[in-house]
Amino acid sequence: MLLREGLIGLLGRCGHDVVAAVGDAPALLAAVEEHAPDIVLTDVRMPPGFQDEGLHAAVRLREKRPTLPVLVLSQYVQRTYASELLDSGDGSGVGYLLKDRIGQVEDFVAALCEVAAGGTVVDPEVVRQLLRRNRDPLDRLTAREREVLGLIAEGRSNGAIARELVVSEAAVGKHISSILTKLDLPPADETHRRVLAVLAYLRA
């Protein structure tokens, strides 16, 4: 409630129109029917049950309109929640962020735009959890490659990764193809496909 008001203010300030703000899952489904928004921003947990109704509503929305971008806000790092969302539709135009990220206003709004444009955004903390699972194939990666993999999963472009790690884009490209080879993943060029391939692999 408090958060909803805050988010409306924040988005308004950053030049976005909030067409509807609702309090529970059925109202959310109805509002999407009515307004056909550019993006849906929802909490995992919603009244009346305070289970994961918000997440389920998001998944249902994606089943009906696979191209509708949805960004889910959560307090759970557990990969189960993120996977449920990422498995909906073809995985483009979805985001799963911890509520902590809202505080980094500019990054948050950028992530929102990224998802609205069809990108995939997964919270860095969730990605870190995924990478922490010392699974066999990941052991084969070098420390640098794991770092790059984490940044890919966060939805960063090659350029952004290069800037973050202070290396050339060509070097990043080399790391990526090496990762994809080591994980037996087919090479793909679109960013979100790469993210999804990696995540799907990590989830397995």
């Binding site: 505080g103 959890q129 699972r133 010392n134």
Partner: protein, 431 residues
């Protein structure tokens, strides 16, 4: 609360209007009948047996007479249920082998058999006449007093009637006064019946019911209350999780958002630095709170069940953990929580003490039980009693009727087995 026996019923209100006085009367009345039958049967068997003993045919009859306490006691324990609902269990042992001979030798050697015979004799000679007398006096006297006006107008021809063969009543007011007195006396006799029946049942219980039965009911009650405590404990954790999530956590998120927005407006300088520091602190608090809430009650457990929660615990573990859990559907909340915390504790111990390079959590639901195996390839020698936190969990497991066992030979491997009897709910319902 429903009274469990006649004593409890008498100490509470509404005894006279309840079924308890009638149950007491019924108990004494059937006692009189059973006792009379017992007397006749035992006497006949003993007499016939003694007479025929000379011809050896009588010996089996005498044995039968000796064993006659057993059926009498059986009937008596069942009759006791009329006025005392606490279970009365016999003290007999199960025979070591099948067959009549094994049964016979077991029974003849048991103290219980002879106690029951003693009880049967006491019953046949002394107790049933008391039962009969009490029930007759306590019921017939007041009832005949209540019936005085009726008797007066029928048998007495409206002139006079003798009450209880003691007093002569000649006027109508006196007859009705006698009836009122009869009703009062009937109430009083209800209590007399209750007291006598209660005392009789207590005597019977002392003589022929196992004292362990009382202990058993206490154990059952304690087990139940322990289970209720575990459930309440779990519900409380869920409530705290919910309160923190919807309260403090939400406010902290709004705080970081407000700080984030404020930072956009402030030009670089000392204020901006202070704001940045505050923002960082708030972020840190949020992260810590998230961990804390997860530790209190992992939401993934209630939302997605045990396999997802265990997979998450494996993710967080410092050493690689393989999870092989085949668990479609959901389990009772208390079982899921206990199993989850056992796995977490075990994984923590493995990471801290075992020196293992790998661990595995496997299991499933078979034959009405949840089975979990937590294995590692460490150095072994783990001691469940050495204050590893497993002791507390063992209590929690046993409260749910579960079992936990640890095998950890020096040199390893260590295997922790946990099992809970529990019913799995339909996978479709939790989907």
């Amino acid at each position: 609360m429903h009274p469990r026996n006649v004593w409890q019923a008498m100490s509470g209100p509404g005894f006279l209007l309840s079924t308890w006085p009638w149950r007491s009367a019924g108990y004494l009345l059937t006692g009189a009948v059973t006792g009379a039958v017992t007397l006749v049967t035992i006497a006949a068997m003993a007499a016939a047996g003694a007479v025929l003993a000379i011809a050896l045919v009588g010996l089996p009859l005498l044995v039968l007479a000796a064993l006659s306490g057993i059926p009498v006691a059986w009937v008596e324990r069942r009759r006791m249920r009329l006025i005392d609902q606490s279970p009365a269990v016999d003290q007999h042992r199960a025979p070591a082998a099948h067959g009549l001979w094994a049964w016979l030798t077991t029974r003849m050697r048991e103290q219980a058999t002879w106690r029951e015979l003693g009880h049967a004799l006491l019953f046949a000679v002394l107790l049933w006449p008391v039962d009969a007398l009490v029930v007759a006096v306590a019921l017939l006297a007041p009832l005949s007093m209540v019936a005085t006006p009726l008797l007066m107008c029928t048998v007495g021809g409206g002139q006079e009637v003798k009450v209880l063969k003691l007093w002569t009543v000649t006027t109508w007011p006196a007859a009705f006064a006698m009836a009122v007195l009869g009703v009062v006396l009937l109430g009083l006799c209800g209590y007399v019946l209750g007291v006598v029946a209660g005392a009789r049942a207590a005597l019977t219980r002392v003589l022929i019911a196992s004292r362990e039965a009382d202990l058993d009911t206490r154990v059952v009650e304690l087990t139940r209350s322990r289970l209720r405590l575990v459930d309440a404990f779990e519900a409380e954790r869920r409530r705290i999780e919910r309160d923190l999530h919807d309260g403090a956590q939400q406010r902290l998120v709004v705080l970081t958002m407000t700080l984030g927005l404020a930072r956009l407006d402030v030009p670089p300088g000392p204020v901006a630095d202070q704001l940045a520091k505050a923002h960082e602190e708030a972020d840190q608090a949020l992260a810590e709170l998230r961990e804390l809430i997860h530790g209190i009650h992992p939401k993934v457990l209630s939302d997605h069940g045990l396999p997802a929660a265990v997979a998450d615990a494996a993710d967080r573990s410092a050493i690689p953990v393989d999870v092989k859990l085949a668990l479609p559907g959901r389990l009772p909340q208390a079982v899921e929580a206990a199993a989850y915390f056992v796995v977490c504790e075990a994984l923590t111990n493995i990471a801290r003490h075992s020196g293992a390079s790998r661990a595995e959590v496997s299991g499933g639901h078979r034959d009405g039980r949840l089975l979990l195996h937590i294995r590692d390839d460490g150095r072994g020698g783990a001691d469940a009693a050495a204050g590893t936190g497993l002791t507390g969990l063992a209590d929690r497991v046993s409260a749910l009727n579960g079992r936990i066992s640890l095998s950890s030979p020096p040199g390893g491997p260590t295997l922790l087995r946990v099992e809970f009897p529990c019913v799995r709910t339909d996978p479709d319902r939790s989907a």
